[in-house]
């Protein structure tokens, strides 16, 4: 695959994932661009051990984790997503947080409501939901991309879905 083919094929996917991870268009653009540049540089060494999409997703996720550790985005850490030690698994999952008072869905369109509730998830849960729902990745692939155990993917995805359903309420029935 040439660098041009890489960009043509995976820039939308990388941006989409970055947008879900950061919840912010400007940061998503920076993140996707950084990741895709790294992917282009790493292309000669890519041996095709995994599907290229998984490989690119992993680069996006790694860049994002590095950004979370950077002082510029230190506040993300306080949101309790990834811990600061190499993305290792925390031994105890924090309790499911109640919806914050800032999440006002009244008057929002269905799409806006989905955007808001997705952005209300913890960064790691948002990443898991994004990789599963938007990218169709298997639990094994998600575990590999985010460097977390497969069991954690399973439990966090299930919990995030419960939370999203609770928050969305009637928006789920709308079409």
């Amino acid at each position: 695959m040439s660098p041009e083919e890489l960009i043509e094929k995976y820039s939308d996917m990388a941006y989409c994932l970055a947008l879900r991870l950061t919840g912010n268009a400007t940061e998503a653009e920076d993140l996707a661009e950084e990741a895709l540049i790294k992917a282009m540089k790493g292309l000669p060494g890519f041996r095709g051990d995994s599907e290229p999409g998984v490989w690119v997703s992993r680069i996006v996720a790694n860049c994002w984790k590095n950004q979370l550790r950077s002082p510029r985005l230190a506040f993300w850490r306080r949101l309790g997503g990834f811990n600061s030690t190499d993305g290792e698994e925390q031994t105890v999952d924090p309790p499911d947080p109640a919806p914050g008072p800032e999440l006002q869905l009244e008057g929002a369109s269905r799409r806006e409501a989905f955007e808001k509730v997705l952005n209300s998830l913890e960064p790691r849960d948002r990443a898991i939901v994004a990789l599963r729902e938007l990218d169709g990745r298997s639990y094994t692939e998600i575990a590999g991309i985010l460097s977390i155990p497969e069991g954690t993917v399973r439990s966090r995805l299930s919990r995030a879905r419960k939370k999203l359903r609770g928050l969305l309420g009637g928006f789920l029935e709308e079409k």
């Binding site: 041009e4 939308d12 895709l36 540049i37 282009m40 729902e133 938007l134 299930s158 879905r161």
Partner: protein, 130 residues
């Protein structure tokens, strides 16, 4: 599995991430359990809604910047630079060998020079060093 255990596994079932035995057991249960069917419907609606909330494709400006960079990466710039460097090094080596031959092996140098001049005059070009 109990009804509660099955409810807890519906997310995995929905994603097709259970083994064959679990899948068969839950399918049989869901067929007769309205509550679990409703849960599955909700998971399906959630999944559809998330997919619908897909944002626009990557910003065109970002893609253009990356494509421009990709085209640069594609250019055999590095290879051209390497070839030039090797050619330059070879030229320097030949010159140094010529200088060394003139100094330490004057006879050999004269005979090589004679051959070059002979070839040059055959081609109708005047030799530089007579």
């Amino acid at each position: 599995m109990t009804h509660e255990e099955i409810k807890e596994s519906l997310s995995d079932y929905f994603d097709g991430q259970l083994g064959p035995a679990g899948t068969v057991e839950i399918s049989a249960h869901v067929a007769t359990c309205p509550e679990c069917r409703a849960e599955l419907d909700a998971l399906s609606a959630l999944s559809a809604g998330i997919k619908e909330s897909l944002p626009a494709p990557a910003p065109a400006a970002m893609k253009e910047r990356l494509l421009a960079r990709a085209r640069q990466e594609n250019k055999p710039l590095f290879r051209s630079a390497t070839v030039l460097a090797v050619a330059f090094a070879a030229l320097i080596l030949v010159l140094m060998a010529g200088v060394a031959a003139k100094k330490y092996m004057p006879t050999l140098f004269s005979s090589v020079q004679g051959m070059i001049n002979g070839a040059a005059s055959t081609l109708g070009v005047s030799g530089g060093n007579k």
